[in-house]
């Protein structure tokens, strides 16, 4: 059994329709002056979700996102035929996490940015459970697209969350686990990133077979 305990859980679920400017008004005070001005909606949400977690260099960060820097991507594409250097930088995954950590000038040794859809959550959880660091910070998030959303290639929701996953159970809000043993034929659908987010927000348990075993999210 591989397991880690949730010692930090913070979720940013912004009001529907919130823009990056709205997030800057709401969350900007959490960031050094000047940094928030250049941050994307996703960067602001992930940075806010990290609040209360004193990130250390020896922490590992695992990041899960399906659409990543959707708004920066839209704006960068809109800048052609004179592409914007700043939008190019911020459109590249994993810019949102880098924005949050560069604002703090916080280096980390291991950082694993994952994308995908069908089994993204499963892979992110497994990566967090396998990592040798004492503490793994698991981040997830999306920002809501505009024209890309209209074409089905961006998220229809904005959210960002941070889980501090440690080996100690004392005082934990819950745990993430993986029990090896399931066969390929027993694989079940893996929760999508928004569904996993909803489970975190509602403190609802999850259990599914995949990746050669059983994954579980349980609450204390």
């Amino acid at each position: 059994m591989l397991e880690r305990h949730l010692q930090h859980l913070r979720i940013e679920l912004p009001p529907p329709g919130e823009t990056a400017d709205g997030a800057r008004d709401r969350l900007g005070a959490k960031f050094p002056r000047g940094a928030a001005r250049r941050m994307t909606h996703l960067g602001l949400m992930l940075g806010a979700a990290l609040e209360g977690l004193a990130v250390r260099e020896e922490d590992t960060i695992v990041y899960a996102t399906t659409y990543a820097e959707a708004r920066a991507l839209e704006d960068y594409l809109g800048s052609f035929p004179a592409p914007s250097p700043m939008l190019f930088q911020t459109s590249i995954m994993p810019s949102a996490v880098q924005q949050a950590l560069i604002a703090r000038q916080q280096p980390v040794r291991r950082f694993l940015p994952l994308t995908g859809r069908q089994r993204l959550v499963e892979h992110a959880v497994l990566a967090a459970l396998l990592d040798p660091a004492d503490r793994v910070i698991l981040l997830g998030g999306e920002e809501r697209g505009t024209w890309m959303l209209a074409h089905g290639v961006a998220s229809d929701r904005a959210f960002g969350w941070a889980l501090g996953l440690e080996r100690t159970a004392r005082g934990a809000a819950g745990r993430l686990g993986f029990e090896p043993g399931a066969t390929a034929a027993e694989e079940e659908p893996c929760p999508a990133l928004p569904d996993f987010t909803d489970a975190l927000a509602a403190r609802r348990g999850l259990r599914w077979r995949g990746g050669g075993g059983t994954f579980m999210l349980e609450w204390s």
């Binding site: 991507l73 052609f80 250097p85 930088q89 280096p107 040794r109 994308t115 069908q118």
Partner: protein, 369 residues
């Protein structure tokens, strides 16, 4: 003192790459001959734009199906057959671009068919259908250290006994999206890249590239012994001026190399500050170890460079000749920079280094099994 590298020894059962110069064998031979795959081409493709050094497998025109699909079919034909994409045989796809060029193509001609392979998952779903992979396909994207992270994660799955074999597959094909972006940053310009050369101004080239490696615990003549890395998180495109990010990674992988005599396949894109910091860090961490970069010929294959260049390094070790730093000339940032080809005999390991935006660094140690 730098943290230790992660010792995760795994064998390489099979490995190959695809560049505009051909497969790993052909690319290695072309590098030995000093051939440059880069040519001066418009950064925006058909619409034009200023010219810069680009190395393309075929014209940089986004098509439906995408232009890179025939090349990936050709590369994938060399992957040993197996039940890929299952829990015991997962696939790890790494890229910094995936199909993002298709999104640019859509904004240009409004053909919705481009969007079918625009987002990373949709792009990889296309590969899954093409190659018959199951759902257990990991996607890793951390700019230009993506492939190194994929190899490390594959090793971790094998060491946890959660997988028997892992296929790491990587590809990055250029588009106006990425060429225009690097050009806007002014590091892709009209100059030819000259990695590690101490000259007035720096410049990089960009190249198409794809590669795969099959990793397992027991089979294969070569071994990836250890992985080291760090993420400076100091600046989006710059590094700490004291070179501490490079030093942490170089010292960690040098520790894993122990007393082995190694040569170094560096990142070496042709930018001045990063090239100097990398050359100096490795000259300190591994004194006397020859340092080469092949991006003066191939261009920077972005998120795929770690695995593309691993395949070429394996060809170099097998044939006994290591290509030098094509496109560079003295003076260089360190006297360890090898401009000319040299014999691989006498070395018992290779360090492969990659760097990325955000001050990300990754290095791995390759040895005989």
């Amino acid at each position: 003192m730098s943290p230790a590298a992660d010792a995760l020894p795994v064998r390489i059962e099979a490995c190959d790459c695809l560049t505009p110069l051909g497969d790993a064998t052909a690319t290695h031979a072309a590098l030995l001959a000093g051939r440059r795959a880069l040519t001066m081409l418009p950064v925006l493709g058909e619409p034009g734009g200023e010219t810069a050094p680009l190395a393309l497998c075929r014209p940089m025109t986004e098509t439906v199906p995408p232009r890179w699909l025939p090349d990936l079919r050709r590369l994938a034909a060399g992957i040993p057959a197996d039940d890929w994409g299952t829990a015991r045989r997962p696939v790890i796809v790494t890229s910094s671009n995936f199909g993002v060029g298709s999104l640019h193509a859509f904004t240009r001609d409004h053909d919705e068919r481009h969007l079918r392979h625009g987002p990373p998952f949709a792009c990889v779903d296309l590969l899954r259908r093409e190659f018959g992979w199951g759902e257990q396909v990991w996607l890793i994207s951390h700019a230009c250290v993506s492939a190194q992270l994929g190899l490390a994660q594959g090793a971790r799955l094998l060491h946890a006994a959660l997988a028997e074999r892992v296929l790491v597959f990587t590809f990055d094909f250029l588009s106006p999206f990425v060429a225009g972006g690097f050009h806007s940053l002014k590091i892709l310009n009209a100059g030819w890249p000259a990695p590690y050369a101490a000259r007035e101004s720096g410049s990089i080239g960009l190249g198409d590239g794809a590669a795969f490696a099959v990793l397992s615990r027991a089979r294969g003549d070569f071994c990836l012994q250890a992985h080291a890395g760090c993420n400076e998180m100091h600046h989006f495109t710059g590094n700490r001026a004291d070179g501490s990010g490079f030093a942490i990674c170089a010292e960690a992988i040098a520790g894993a190399a122990g007393g082995r005599r190694v040569w170094i396949k560096g990142h070496g894109t042709g930018t001045l500050e990063a090239g100097r910091l990398e050359a100096e860090a490795f000259a300190r961490a591994l004194p006397g170890a020859p340092l080469v970069s092949w991006k003066g010929s191939l261009g920077h294959t972005l998120g795929s460079c770690g695995l593309v260049e691993l395949a070429i390094a394996l060809a170099a070790v097998r044939t006994g000749r290591v290509p030098g730093t094509v496109g560079s000339a003295p003076p260089c940032f360190a006297d360890t920079v090898a401009l000319d080809a040299f014999a691989a005999g006498g070395f018992d390991g290779v360090v492969l280094d990659s760097n990325a935006f955000g001050g990300a660094h990754a290095a791995m140690l390759l040895t005989h099994a």
